[in-house]
Structure formats: C-alpha cells, structure tokens
C-alpha cells in the first residue's frame, strides 16, 4: 500500500514536471523570443508568417494543457483506486510517451523550419571555421570514459545475473538493446559534430555550444539508461519489484530535466537573424 502511495506521489511529480513546469518554461521562452525578437527586426528568424508561429505556440499550450489535465485525473484515479500495482510501470511509461508528444512535434517541425530558412537564405557568402571539430572538444574524456565503463560494467552485470536463470530475465537481449541504443547515440553524436549545418544563420559559437550540449545529453542519457536497467534488474532480483515503477517514473523525470536543457536560449546570438546581419 505504501509503495502505491509512493508511486502516486512520484507519478504526480512526472505529470507536473513534464506537462506543467517544462511546457510553462518553454512557452515562456517562446513568448520572450516573440516579444524581444519581433519579425520586423529579425525577419530571418521567421521564414513563415508570424501568425504561423503564434498558432504553433497556441497548439503547444493546448496539447500540454490537455495532457496535464488527463494526468491529474489519472493521478486522482490512482489515489482512490485500490490496486496491486503491477501496471504502475506501464502507466508511467505510456504516459511519459504521451507527455513527450508535444516536444516531439516541435522537434520534427524544427527540421521543416530550418529547411525553409535555408531555402529563404539568399546570401551568396558562406562561412566556416578553419578548425577541426573533434569529440574531445565537446565532452571531457572523463565523462566519455565513464560512459564506456558503465557499458562494460553493464555487460558483466548481465552475464552475472544470467547465471541465476530468473524466469523473468531477458538475458543477452538487454546487452543487444543497450548496444543498439549506444550505436544510435554514437551515430547521432557523429551527425551533430560532422553533419550538415541545419540552421544557415546560426552563429559559430552557438553551433559549437549546441553540439556540446547535444553530445553531453546523449552521453548522459546513455549512462542513465544503463544504470536504470541495472537498477531495474537488481530490484527484480531482490524481490523488490514494487519499487520498480517509482524508479521508472523518477528516471523519466531525470531524462526530461536533461533533455529540456537542449532548449535553452540564454546565450543565443539573435543578431544573425537581422536583415542586415553578415553571413555566419
């Protein structure tokens, strides 16, 4: 019973953090950008009519509000309904995926946004830094080493647990899944360092900062995911399954805290979006 209450409280945290706090912060940033960098002074920031972006902001607010309300209703149901708790983990996971839909929509539309920016870019000059970008420029070898060590520890951990023949244990599938995830992350890191510049106006310093942030987030998520799976398996092996959903929802909240760092605009140079700005 107490673990149900613990999960309910942790899940309430997930609902509030991902569907209230972060969307509210994002909307605040959008509002700040619209007010401080209007289309009249920063035309390159808006390849489409300004109303389109206001509409997108409105949609983002509405979708999040509905998810927030749905989440609160779900939490209320969880509080008043007696249950065994076996579905709590699934509830946290499915709701987490729903909570990420608005952000995913924004991410997908950003590709289209940058494509329109590139098409509208009439400048004939292009700039590049005569400096080789390398992985250690963006993340300390310590963190990178930590990610590798965590993965190796994970492999040994799975091999060790496999000896006990737990009926619920997936075995080497865990290693395969984690390897695929890390390979995808490695590809994403390579793409962000060496890949095409999506935003044609982005200042060089902003680009480096963004690459650094992406690399750090991906490495951190890799470490967190590995630790999470190990913790998940350990709890199951120690017959403490009732705490798994709590760990799960806290893990999702941690992921959200990390992922939302990618949307910070504190040091972004918006002068590059002015009409008379020089090419970047």
């Amino acid at each position: 019973m107490s673990d149900n209450i613990l999960f309910n409280i942790a899940f309430l945290g997930q609902v509030l953090l991902l569907s209230r706090y972060f969307p509210w912060k994002m909307l605040g940033r959008m509002k700040h950008v619209f007010a401080t960098y209007p289309p009249s002074d920063y035309p390159r920031l808006y390849p489409r009519p300004f109303e389109y972006y206001q509409h997108a902001q409105h949609n983002y607010r509405v979708i999040n509000r509905w998810i927030h309300i749905a989440g609160l209703i779900l939490v209320a149901i969880l509080f008043i309904t007696p249950r065994s708790g076996e579905w709590d983990g699934a509830i946290a996971t499915w709701f987490f995926m729903v909570q990420f839909i608005p952000l995913l929509r924004l991410d997908i539309s950003s590709f289209k946004y940058f494509r329109l920016m590139r098409e509208a870019n009439s400048r004939s000059t292009r700039k590049a830094e005569l400096h080789r970008r390398r992985l250690p420029d963006f993340i300390s070898p310590f963190f990178l080493g930590l990610a590798v060590l965590t993965y190796i520890a994970f492999v040994f951990f799975i091999i060790y647990v496999k000896q006990f023949d737990f009926p619920w244990f997936g075995g080497y599938v865990n290693i395969a899944a984690m390897t695929v995830m890390n390979l995808v992350f490695a590809g994403m890191i390579a793409w962000s360092i060496y890949g095409k510049k999506l935003n044609p106006h982005q200042a060089h310093a902003d680009r480096l900062r963004q690459i650094g942030l992406s690399v750090k987030i991906l490495v951190f998520v890799s470490i967190a995911a590995t630790v999470f799976i190990m913790l998940h398996v350990t709890l199951a092996a120690m017959e403490l399954r009732e705490y798994q959903p709590v760990v799960q929802t806290l893990y999702y909240q941690l992921l959200a805290v990390v992922c939302y760092q990618a949307y910070r605009i504190d040091h972004t140079n918006f002068d590059v979006y002015k009409e008379d700005a020089v090419a970047t």
Partner: protein, 126 residues
C-alpha cells in the same frame, strides 16, 4: 580563423578556398602543425561539394602548404609559410608571357600560337 566563400564570385570556389588558407598561413592565423578540418566537415559547413574541397586540399598538398597524415587528418605543412608566398598562377602567367613575347618577336601569329598551345595541351603530335 574564418573561411568565407562567395558562391557568386567569378573566382572558382576551390581557388577561393586555397587563397584563403594560404592567406591564413601568411597572416599567422594558422601555424605549421595545426589540424585542418576534414574535407567532409569543411564541405558540409560551406555547403559545398566534397570534391571541391578535396580539389583545394589536393592542390594545397601539391604546393606543400598542407600535408595529409593518413587517418590522423590534414595539417599545415612545416614549410607552409614559405610555400604559401609562391604564387603559382603569377609564375605561370609570367612564363607564358615571356614565351608568347618571344614567339611574336619571331613572327608567329597569335592564331598560330593558340593552335599550337591547344595541340600541346591536348598532347597531339605536331
């Protein structure tokens, strides 16, 4: 150090790239041993074809301004400063000017010079 390419300039893109790297060497903005971006990175940043950057790098390597060290990448050549000062195009123009002048003095017409030059360039028997 920034490289700026103008895609509407009449100067070929690879020449713009070469000139700017040489200028960077002469101005001490890059020094011998400094690592240069990979062909792919520079092509991607400048939104150019990989072959354009590869051509510029190949010609700079020929002029000993840069050197490629296998998988480790491309670096500024130890003698880059001295070699960047050599303007191969100016040298070609001076040599051709001298040769054409001598031919004209001998009474050869411009038309004959052009045909002969074309034949030599095309490796024809004459």
């Amino acid at each position: 150090m920034e490289i700026i390419i103008d895609i509407e300039d009449t100067v070929p893109l690879f020449t713009q790239l070469m000139d700017q790297i040489k200028k960077a060497v002469l101005n001490d903005q890059v020094r011998p041993g400094d690592a240069l971006p990979s062909i792919r990175q520079l092509a991607s940043d400048l939104e150019l074809n990989n072959k354009t950057v590869a051509k510029a790098y190949r010609l700079l390597e020929r002029d000993s301004v840069i050197q490629t060290k296998g998988y480790r990448g491309t670096f500024i050549h130890p003698d880059a400063r001295a070699n960047s000062a050599n303007d191969l195009n100016a040298w070609i123009l001076a040599r051709l000017d001298k040769t054409i002048g001598a031919l004209r003095d001998s009474g050869v017409t411009d038309s004959e010079i052009r045909i002969a030059f074309g034949n030599v360039m095309n490796n024809r028997n004459y």
